[in-house]
């Protein structure tokens, strides 16, 4: 029976030292963490908080000063664990003299995949990340967004059980960001485990089930996103089709129950939603000025 715990760290500590062995910085302090199968876990924190160090320790790119990191119950430095892992680094550190097909073929070979499986999987992933028209261009000619997408494709080449994403939405436009977030949610629906680290809080909030907040190498908060963000002493109702009189009546009910009315008005959409609506409408009706959403619908 497979264990439900995919990642486990025990007292994981990393101290960076200089050439002479003197301590430069304690990047991670005694991190204890468990990440379960099928969840999307977000590591949050400002720059230098230890997010990337944690990620590198989990991948075996760094060795812990003390403590232990276990992936699928194996030590993080054991290369066999990598057969079930996909990793998208912060920058897409890929060979820029290869094209998209060659890149995926190369990484497929590293997983000992047969030629037919590599071809099939590469075609599937190139379509998925929308690089079909640019698959024979060298990566040096790719824009940042395209590089992120091919980076994501290489991370998924082996159909991994665990996907580690370092700043997955950095460098992506709103459409790319939405696609990335949709993909992350899709991966969860396939039963995969996703660990991402980011400082873009909205992205984390949108997709993560649980988060851990790191600050100066220490874990400051850990829990489910919905419970961490819940404001327990505020009640929110949403309704449509209420006229002025009905709204007045509701205000009176609140006063009668000694409640304090904080806000009454029309909600605003997010800038992301407005942007995506405009793009969708422009694609549906080329040449016509797009009206977007939100206020336009109300008027």
């Amino acid at each position: 029976m497979q264990s439900d715990i995919i990642i486990e760290t025990r007292n994981l500590t990393k101290v960076y030292r200089d050439f002479w062995g003197r301590q430069k910085v304690r990047a991670l302090k005694a991190l204890d963490l468990e990440i379960r199968r099928g969840e999307i876990f977000g590591l949050l924190g400002p720059n230098g908080s230890g997010k990337t160090t944690t990620m590198k320790l989990l991948l075996g790119l760094l060795f812990p000063t003390s403590g232990q990191a276990l992936i699928f119950g194996r030590d993080a430095t054991d290369v066999t664990k990598n057969e079930r892992i996909g990793y998208l680094p912060e920058e897409s550190y890929l060979y820029r003299f290869l094209n998209a097909e060659e890149t995926l073929d190369f990484y497929g070979r590293l997983f000992n995949m047969s030629s037919s499986v590599r071809r099939e999987r590469a075609a599937q992933l190139i379509n998925m990340v929308g690089l079909g028209s640019a698959k024979r261009r060298q990566l040096r000619e790719y824009s940042k967004g395209m590089t992120r997408r091919i980076g994501l494709a290489q991370a998924l080449i082996n159909d991994p059980e665990l996907i580690l994403l370092d700043e997955p939405t950095t460098g992506l436009d709103p459409i790319g960001t939405r696609a990335m977030k949709d993909l992350i949610l899709d991966l969860r629906s396939q039963g995969k485990t996703v660990v991402m680290c980011s400082h873009l809080l909205a992205d984390v909030q949108d997709v993560c089930d649980r988060i851990g907040i790191l600050y100066q190498g220490e874990l400051k908060e850990l829990g489910r996103v919905d419970s961490l963000l819940k404001v327990r002493n505020v009640t929110e109702f949403r309704a449509s089709g209420l006229d002025e009189a009905a709204q007045e009546e509701i205000k009176q009910v609140i006063e009668r129950h000694n409640g304090e009315l904080i806000f009454v008005g029309n909600p605003t959409s997010t800038l992301e939603e407005l942007f995506l609506n405009i793009i969708a409408e422009s694609e549906a009706h080329p040449g016509r000025r797009a009206r977007g959403g939100g206020d336009a619908d109300a008027s």
């Binding site: 990598n82 990793y87 290869l98 190369f106 990484y107």
Partner: protein, 629 residues
């Protein structure tokens, strides 16, 4: 001369070499494990260190055993593509440029242009290919680590052994391809550069041996001057002839037609590009008293490679050959020799020193003096001893071998057994009268009093059938290939734990150290005059010569003790670095000697013996380092 040390038969060499290698590997493994344990103990404490060291070693065995060919091939292809991207073809362009300039500047009037051309192309190729190997191997991994492209590789199920092997194979493939193209171009360059002919006209020839009203027996004369030389030519009555040997080659010549329709033709150069297969004998020296000695006279050279004999005396240089038979030498005995000369007085400086060549049957003692020759300093003399010997320069003799033993002088054969009647004959058969059970002695004597002849074992040999030159040329490039693979191995190893530029300097250091490893070994063993490093430095400063005794004292004692330690260090370094110079066959190809199979096998095994530990070391260095920072 390329052969200065005796080449031991491969199977005789192998057991000792394997034993030495195993010993070195065991010592290095134990030393590396102890060092690793010590470092881990400082970092994690003694108990954890033992566990960690054990895990690294066992994981290492698994990582080497479970190498995936597909992953290695993927990384190999990547290294090839990366090399192409880094414009390795520029090296080829530089090579072509070098050849183009060389074509203008190589001296066509050189006494041996083939040697010049071959030395040049082989040296130029090896320098360029080794530099390329150095740069590619030293910078590749550090660049991947710096640009973090290695992060996406090592986070796949790739073992450090596969990363190392992929790099080594990839750079070897690209270097091999380039070397093959360079070899082809070089061969074309040499053939094109050396190819020439001469013209011959009726005015250049005169008839010799013509009786009244009959056809001349010979026509002799000189060819036209081309490539700064001309040949003496002799054409027989049949119309066929040949030139003399000049600049290491000769030409066939012929006359066709007669009267006004007569045509003279000189063919392409012959014997210019050869691969002689020498059969070496063992050398001993006969002193002026006629007693055999293992060593000759030292005429004052610090390099005691050659021994000398005194001229105008019974002293002789004696080569003893084995396995001389009709099957190997059906046309007679081709002998080639390069005899050194030491003059105690100038004499006629334009003329060489006179010497003679004799053959001796080692059983009967029958000695036949065949030819007097003029030895010009280190010029190769060729002569063919015919099967039927009817001409001598002195009366045949029966000469016993004289050796000093504790019991007195020993004669072989003994005086009583000498068959003096053998010397009365005037016709001898080479194989029946002078060769005894495959054994034959060749004697060389210096005929001029006050002058000396000097030789080493390889300076006289019997020239068996030549090997194909093209094959020898390929073998020469195989030597460069071995050097290249070793440089790649060391480059990749250093690049697993050093930055690119430092790895390059370290590899260059190994390369230069390797070229001097023979000297370092001799220095460490005290076989070099002038003492160890400190003593030699002191001699330099004090302007003392290498042979004089240093004044005894405290400083001398301290210095010599420190030198003992330094010599130990030098011995260790010279033992773990490959002697790169030994992998170079340039001199063999340039001097026209076949590179024997034994030598190729030895060097190939040598290279593998170095590459295996280098690979294992590279694996461990990559395994125990953090790829990210």
């Amino acid at each position: 001369m390329p052969v200065e040390t005796e080449i031991i038969p491969f199977l005789q060499w192998l057991p000792g070499a394997v034993l030495y290698w195993l010993l070195a590997v065991v010592i290095l493994t134990v030393a590396a494990s102890l060092l690793g344990l010590l470092v881990a103990a400082v970092e994690y404490g003694p108990w954890a260190a033992v566990g960690k060291t054990w895990r690294v070693v066992t994981a290492g065995v698994a990582d080497v055993v479970r190498i995936s060919p597909r992953r290695v091939w993927a990384l190999t292809r990547l290294a090839v593509k990366e090399s192409v991207r880094r414009r390795v073809v520029v090296v080829f362009a530089v090579f072509i440029l070098v050849l183009a300039f060389a074509g203008l500047f190589l001296d066509p009037g050189n006494p041996n242009p083939a040697r010049l051309y071959l030395s040049f192309v082989l040296t130029a190729t090896s320098y360029l290919v080794l530099l390329l190997a150095l740069f590619l191997s030293a910078f590749s991994l550090p660049t991947d680590i710096r640009t973090r492209t290695l992060h996406t590789v090592v986070t796949k199920p790739v073992r450090p052994s596969e990363v190392v092997l992929g790099r080594m194979l990839g750079f070897t493939i690209i270097g091999t391809g380039l070397l093959l193209i360079m070899a082809l171009v070089s061969y074309g360059f040499v053939v094109q550069g050396l190819g020439h002919t001469h013209t011959l006209t009726a005015e250049d020839l005169r008839s010799v041996g013509q009786a009244e009203g009959s056809q001349p027996r010979f026509q002799i004369g000189k060819t036209s001057q081309d490539r700064r030389h001309r040949h003496q030519v002799m054409i027989e009555a049949s119309g066929q002839g040949r030139t003399d040997v000049d600049q290491g080659h000769w030409h066939e010549s012929s006359v066709t037609g007669s009267g006004t329709d007569v045509r003279y033709k000189v063919g392409p150069p012959k014997d210019m590009l050869v691969a002689r297969v020498p059969v070496y004998g063992s050398l001993r020296f006969r002193d002026p008293e006629g007693i055999d000695r293992p060593e000759g006279i030292n005429v004052g050279d610090e390099w005691s490679y050659r021994g000398f004999i005194q001229g105008g005396s019974p002293a002789a240089l004696i080569w003893s050959f084995q396995d001389v038979d009709e099957r190997t030498f059906p046309e007679g005995l081709p002998v080639e020799m390069t005899i050194g000369v030491f003059r105690t007085h100038k004499g006629v400086i334009e003329r060489g020193i006179l010497g003679s060549v004799s053959l001796r049957n080692p059983r009967t003692g029958l000695t036949v003096e065949l030819e007097v020759f003029e030895s010009k300093e280190f010029a190769t003399k060729e002569l063919t001893i015919p099967r039927k010997i009817t001409k001598f320069v002195a009366s045949p003799q029966v000469v016993p071998r004289k050796e000093e033993t504790p019991e007195g002088v020993k004669f072989t054969p003994q005086q009583a057994d000498l068959d003096l009647s053998l010397a009365e004959r005037r016709e001898f058969d080479l194989f029946e009268d002078l060769v005894d059970d495959g054994r034959l002695e060749v004697w060389v004597r210096c005929l001029e009093p006050g002058q000396y002849f000097g030789a080493a074992q390889a300076d006289l040999y019997l020239r068996a059938a030549d090997a194909p030159f093209v094959l020898n040329f390929v073998k020469g490039y195989f030597g460069i290939w071995l050097q290249m693979v070793l440089v790649i191995g060391f480059g990749v190893m250093f690049s697993t734990f050093l930055s690119g530029s430092v790895a390059m300097i370290a590899t260059l250091g190994a390369l230069v150290g390797g070229f001097f490893s023979q000297f370092m070994t001799e220095l460490a063993r005290g076989q070099v005059h002038g003492g160890g490093p400190l003593e030699a430095a002191t001699r330099l400063v004090m302007q003392e010569n290498l042979m004089s005794e240093l004044e005894s004292g405290v400083w001398t004692t301290i210095m010599q003790m420190a030198d003992t330690v330094l010599k130990g260090g030098l011995w260790v370094i010279s033992s773990i670095l490959p002697a790169f110079g030994r992998f170079s066959y340039t001199e063999y190809v340039a001097y026209g000697f076949d590179i024997s199979r034994e030598l190729l096998l030895m060097r190939s095994v040598n290279a593998v013996a170095f590459l295996l530990p280098v690979f294992v070391a590279a694996y461990f260095f990559l395994k125990i380092r953090e790829v990210a920072r």
